[in-house]
């Protein structure tokens, strides 16, 4: 670094016409002339297209000929072209972090087409701001890390097993940790799966056998994850078996497939008060074990404890289909039994499911729409029967239905111990308690933390097919770093000045990635490969002990003051 401070700055500025996209509005030759007046700028030129192969070789030529050690391209947005120009600089021997882009197209010529004079002035300012910043830039290295080609899968349900098999088939070592003594998860308790009516146990047993026999999968039943340290490629995992036996694994990636619980609607619609008020899950087990005694009339109440105004506001996604399926199973078993489904909205989304609703209707299942404002009431009647008093939203009148079996469709909810796991892994839970992905649309199965992924109902309520899709998705995501074996990580990271740090721990608390911890001296230490370079810690550090490489306080403020025309440095 020492010689970097002594070096004489030699800045080259390449200003792009972008055909007429910039040149048609901004007076490019004037900006070139202006750039030459700025401090440390030793060379400036305009190009028809700086990003063309001709333009790129001009940059390389310029670097050689004028001995440039800082490069600015004034053209389009860095969000698309920065990697290209950076690579060009690197080819010509200039560290790619000594490059800066001035966005005079998207943020200038295109937005101010009707004001060419003002656009030219603004373009000059933008170039001046880039000069102010580039003068203060320092070369950076991107640290390279090795990736251990093994994965930890937490949860031995259908999702966890599917992703474990998919990874094992690619010859990666998999540690599959299951809290229960047996593999299988929720499917072990289910009867038939919609829409194929496949027996859950049939589908499951094949996968369980496959997992048990796979030489690349090590199954750890009755085991929980106790501690996780490290980062992508290099996680140290400690697990504990029920019998207190502990073990440590080294893994490169982690998959969270811990599943969900079913909500127990205690106190709702007489549940736990009347024996003949049960959950949909219980009905499923009665059907499975062939223990359902013939009821005269079944009333199912949808959205019990789901889609509430506060608390569980979400739709549990599977209950409508589950109710339709169980209603038809009951009707098949006892054709004389009446089945009512009380619903707020029937969400039979997607392929095949809407047909199922029609089919159920054809088979005599009766539907009654109720409102959130006037919830149904379950009242004890005579002979152990129940009366369901419901406001029929379509008829607009109060209706009484007598029933000897009330079935409550309750949502999937996050497991009690998920919070502990989220803290162990330092990954977030969303407002509904489910594990929270990095981006709802663009990164739906990644966590914000690299190398940790989520699938199945641990992420949100979903059916088996959706869980399997996600499980295959995470296996694919996790296999990428493990197949590549080496990773380059962010060079833009936080740096702590130990002499200023008071060890207050504010940065440890606010880092979204858990990249900062207190070391043995009690001061903050950044794990550079985990840091994503957002800079939140730097902007918050009470002692101003943290700086951000490539976005230092000095660099950002210099750029801003240059914007005001106050100073270029």
């Amino acid at each position: 670094m020492e010689h970097a401070e002594e070096e004489v700055l030699r800045i080259g500025v390449f200003i792009c016409h972008c055909g007429i996209n910039i040149g048609g509005v901004v007076n490019v030759p004037e900006v070139v002339k202006y750039a030459m007046t700025l401090p440390n700028v030793v060379y400036a030129e305009d190009n028809l297209y700086t990003c063309s192969s001709d333009g790129l070789s001009k940059i390389k030529e310029g670097i050689g000929k004028y001995n440039l050690n800082r490069v600015i391209v004034a053209s389009c947005t860095p969000r698309t072209h920065e990697p290209l120009f950076r690579a060009t600089c690197e080819e010509a021997g200039v560290n790619k972090y000594l490059f800066e882009m001035a966005n005079i197209r998207e943020h200038c010529s295109w937005a101010h087409m009707h004001e060419p004079d003002k656009a030219t002035e603004k373009a000059k300012d933008i170039v001046r701001m880039a000069v102010a910043k580039v003068r203060l830039l320092k070369p950076q290295d991107e640290p390279e890390i090795e990736v251990t080609p093994s994965a930890l899968v937490i949860g031995g349900g259908i999702s966890g097993m599917t992703s474990a098999l998919c990874l094992a088939d690619q010859e990666f070592k998999v540690y599959l940790v299951e809290k229960e003594p047996e593999l299988g998860g929720m499917l072990r308790h289910l009867y038939k799966l919609f829409p194929t009516m496949l027996n859950a146990s049939e589908g499951l047993s094949k996968i369980v056998e496959g997992v048990k026999q796979n030489k690349n999968i090590e199954v750890w039943p009755s085991t929980v994850v106790k501690q996780v340290k490290g980062f992508i490629g290099n996680f140290d995992v400690s697990v504990q078996r029920e019998n207190r036996e502990t073990a440590n694994f080294q893994v490169g990636t982690i998959i969270v497939a811990t599943g969900a619980d079913i909500f127990e609607p205690v106190g709702m619609y007489g549940y736990k008060k009347y024996d003949n008020v049960i959950t949909q899950f219980k009905l499923e087990q009665l059907l499975k074990d062939n223990q359902l005694k013939k009821p005269e009339r079944v009333v199912m109440i949808q959205c019990t404890g789901a889609r509430e105004e506060k608390g569980r506001t979400y739709c549990s996604r599977i209950c409508c289909m589950e109710a339709l399926k169980n209603a038809m199973l009951v009707r098949e078993l006892y054709p004389e039994t009446d089945v009512y489904i009380l619903f707020r909205d029937l969400q039979t989304y997607g392929r095949e499911y809407e047909e199922w609703r029609r089919m159920a209707q054809d088979k005599g299942v009766k539907f009654v729409k109720y409102n959130l404002e006037k919830l149904p009431e379950v009242i004890a009647g005579h002979d152990g029967k129940l009366t369901i008093d419901v406001y029929h939203a379509l008829l607009g009148e109060q209706v009484q239905i007598e029933s000897d079996l009330v079935v409550l469709s309750t949502p999937l909810v996050q497991r009690e111990d998920a919070k502990e796991l989220s803290q162990t892994l330092k990954v977030p839970l969303g407002p509904d308690g489910f594990f929270f992905e990095a981006h709802v649309k663009l990164r739906p199965i990644d966590f914000a933390t690299d190398g940790i992924y989520v699938c199945g109902t641990a992420h949100s309520p979903k059916d088996t097919a959706e869980s399997v899709s996600q499980a295959l998705g995470v296996a694919s995501r996790a296999s990428i770093p493990m197949a590549v074996k080496r990773l380059r990580t962010e060079a833009i990271t936080a740096m702590v000045d130990e002499s200023l740090c008071s060890g207050c721990g504010t940065c440890v608390k606010i880092c979204p990635y858990g990249a900062i911890e207190k070391d043995e001296k009690g001061v903050a230490r950044v794990t550079a490969v985990v840091c994503k370079g957002c800079g939140i810690c730097g902007a918050s550090c009470p002692e101003k002990a943290i700086s951000m490489s490539h976005f230092t306080d000095e660099q950002v403020v210099a750029q801003a003051l240059a914007a005001l025309g106050r100073t270029v440095a």
Binding site: W110, K532, E543
Partner: protein, 258 residues
């Protein structure tokens, strides 16, 4: 000459900078007033940056980030919101209009919204007129106030409160005691008031030693309060007794404590 505002915009790379790109791609025009600085996250905006820029005469500062829930860095934008909330309260004490600072959420798909916001903010700044700190002769009183605010924003107390707000409200302190938002706001307001005044005192006595009475007059503050702040400043090693005139101590600034 008509007044052309100088606005500095801090935009996060992932949402709002992309939104500004889209405004250009869609050829939506907006005033040329804004100069954009790209940061990885709006959470990078240190309150000190904003005050430094306002002190140097920016007519307005816009900070833009991803909509809540969309932040590329999980909740960096919510940290930004806490910082801006504190900053606005701090600026309000300086005589500069807090409306010169604005935080907005702009997604990558909201080119139109970006342009509309720049347009609206530019008009708002035009209505306010040039910053009293711009030009050759910045208003000395407001400048001193803004510099005091900047020092307050550099100090431990306000920074730690902003940084710990979420934790104190959601998780509680080390003893597990949670703070309500109202309680927190009250503490924050008191801290802003106290830290701002303390830094003002420091700036005043740095120019020339003053007595509590003089300071009290200058700051329009109860002498008891002034004395209390002096005690804190002495404890922090920022102020000491310079000389005694008759029986009245005159306080002066120490450079050491800073």
């Amino acid at each position: 000459m008509t007044f052309e505002p100088r606005i500095v915009g801090f935009l996060c790379n992932w949402c709002s900078y992309a939104g500004a790109d889209l405004a250009g791609v869609s050829r939506i025009s907006y005033p040329t007033s804004i100069r954009i600085i790209r940061l990885m996250c709006s959470g990078r905006v240190d309150p000190v940056f904003v005050l430094e820029i306002l002190a140097k005469g920016a007519d307005g500062v816009m900070v833009m980030g991803c909509h809540p829930g969309d932040c590329h860095y999980v909740d960096g934008n919510l940290q930004t919101e806490r910082k801006i909330k504190m900053l606005k309260k701090l600026i309000a004490r300086t005589g500069l209009e807090p409306e010169r600072l604005r935080l907005e959420w702009v997604s990558a798909s909201e080119g139109g919204r970006f342009a509309e916001l720049v347009n609206e903010f530019t008009n708002q700044i035009k209505a306010l007129g040039p910053s009293p700190l711009s030009g050759e002769k910045p208003d000395p009183v407001i400048l001193e106030n803004i510099l005091a605010a900047k020092s307050a924003a550099e100090d431990f107390r306000l920074r730690v409160l902003v940084g710990r707000e979420k934790e104190l409200i959601e998780k509680g302190n080390v003893y597990g005691d949670k703070t309500t938002q109202e309680e927190f706001n009250k503490t924050m307001d008191e801290a802003i008031q106290a830290e701002y005044v303390r830094n003002k005192i420091y700036f005043v006595v740095r120019k020339e030693p003053q007595s509590v009475k003089e300071l009290s007059k200058h700051l329009d503050l109860d002498p008891q309060m002034v004395l209390r702040h002096i005690v804190v400043l002495r404890r922090r090693g920022m102020v000491t007794v310079g000389r005694v005139e008759g029986t009245t101590p005159l306080y002066t600034a120490l450079e050491v404590g800073r």
